[in-house]
């Protein structure tokens, strides 16, 4: 072997190849695939589908035929989904720790912020896709029910309300994602999310009923309060301000602190 060739070989061995960084789009593709390629994600997806498909005949069966409207379908699908869809994003983050896949994930992509960013992009995509599906299924159910009843279908959800409902779901996803980043454990974050979605709204309204001072501040400190006003379909300027304040308090601040910790924490 000539000296030049030998030097070239040695260099090939002791310096990195000229590789391009892993592009963010590729990471998003991989993370999206990871959301749906495990056995638990299969069952989660299956139950999300079953809930939606069960909702349509349930509305048709239990509502008086003449009363059926589009909004009934949207709510009957959307409410259970608001508990289920965020679990997709939540498990995508906590799984790296609870299932210890992070040891491989973060060895391939040491810049952890990019991995979490890709997961967040997927979570946002999942919310948008889910809502599009929810509206499509509802529309189909509404048309079918009206045809059966021999009436004109009633479309009682405005364009703005479609956006509100999507934002409602997005806030649920953001809360679940934040809990996942902060807790990094599937059982802890799941419990946390159900407390947020089921216990907090009830407790908050009970407390607001019992204590007048809390009734006044609740909209400014309780994120679920603002979330529910989105569900109600009307938003005043003050309500937007309240929603923004609580989102900073319960989503932005914990997410920033949680990410700072996540970027440093030892993966084992």
């Amino acid at each position: 072997m000539t000296t030049v060739a030998a030097t070239a070989t040695l260099r090939a061995v002791v310096v990195p190849r000229r590789t391009a960084p892993v592009p963010f789009r590729r990471l998003v593709g991989v993370e999206l695939r990871k959301m749906f390629d495990t056995r638990s994600s299969f069952w989660l997806l299956a139950s999300i589908g079953i809930v939606a498909l069960a909702a349509v005949p349930m509305v048709i069966a239990f509502q008086p035929t003449g009363d059926i409207t589009y909004a009934m379908f949207v709510n009957t699908i959307g409410y259970p989904w608001s508990l289920m869809i965020p679990m997709v994003g939540l498990l995508s983050v906590t799984g790296e720790w609870s299932q210890r896949g992070g040891l491989t994930t973060f060895a391939f992509v040491p810049r952890r912020g990019r991995v979490i960013g890709a997961k967040a992009a997927c979570a946002a995509g999942v919310v948008l896709a889910a809502m599009a599906l929810c509206f499509a299924l509802s529309a189909a159910g509404n048309v079918a029910a009206a045809a059966v009843a021999g009436i004109d279908p009633v479309w009682d959800v405005s364009a703005a309300e479609h956006l509100f409902l999507t934002l409602f779901q997005a806030i649920g996803m953001a809360a679940a994602f934040t809990l996942a980043v902060v807790l990094r454990s599937s059982p802890a974050a799941l419990v946390g999310y159900f407390v947020f979605a089921l216990v907090v709204p009830t407790l908050s309204s009970m407390l607001a009923g019992a204590q007048e001072w809390y009734g006044d501040v609740a909209p400014w400190v309780d994120l679920t309060h603002g979330q529910l006003s989105l569900f109600a379909g009307t938003m005043t300027g003050e309500q937007w301000a309240q929603l923004g304040t609580t989102a900073v308090l319960w989503l932005v601040v914990p997410l920033v602190l949680g990410m700072r910790r996540l970027l440093r924490v030892e993966i084992r």
Binding site: V13, L103, R268
Partner: protein, 307 residues
Amino acid sequence: MITITSLTKRYGRLAAVDDVSFTASPGRVTGFLGPNGAGKSTTLRILAGLATATSGSATVLGHRYADLPNPGLEIGVLLDASAQHGGRTGRETLVLAQRTMGLPAARVDESLELVGLTRAESRRRVRDYSLGMRQRLGIATALLGDPRVLVLDEPANGLDPAGIRWMRDLLRGFADDGGTVLLSSHLLAEVEMIADDIVMIGSGRVVAQGPTTDLLAGARTLVRADDVVALGAALAGAGHHVTPSGDAVLTDAGPGTAGRLAFGAGLAVTELRTADGAGLEDMFLELTAATAREAVGSAPIPTGASA
């Protein structure tokens, strides 16, 4: 090429890794040894950017791991074969790695074949894998990007005898092609057979390092005789160091000298050979026991030529 420089990692008051420096060179297999809790895994975790050092540095091919743009193409890492999502199939685990690195899809089948996992096995969930199968899957993941550096934490763990032989050949071939291999292991005979260089740590500190042949230059001879006491006396009488080992003795005399001394004492030797394996094992136990007794201080540390 892996360079660890004055690496220290503290967990509260415990120094899990304490001022460790060594190099793993291209074309060589470097064995990383030490008792349980010595700090091997911690060192390798820092090297792979999964933990941060308290001080010091660890570099791969001259760069911090986290600064490598696509690390899987430079360095294959297997730190814990059990750390895989149990709900994915083995094949899916590899597909994710292949996509992350931007490799052609055919690499997945190639590396499955390389580690001896069948197609049927690769379609089963990792949760249902045996330890050895997980180990093979982990090695397949590490080799997927065709890296020039391999870092393996106890890769022989759980492998069957054929698997251990296969692993030895694989690592040998990898190093002979100019690759760098750093592996930790508790199988000393295995390490002695494959490692060109050895780094031994105890309680977070390097207690010995250098080429395997240099470190074991003082490898002893094992002599067995019917009257082992008389044999020991004969060797000791000639000024040699003698350690009883069951119904035999280990001595620092060469096999020729030991045989002649036994013959001179009228003893029938029933076994006479260099104590391979035992040499590394004795050295290991001696050196690591010393660090346990003297947490601080400078015990005589045999240090071979640094690679």
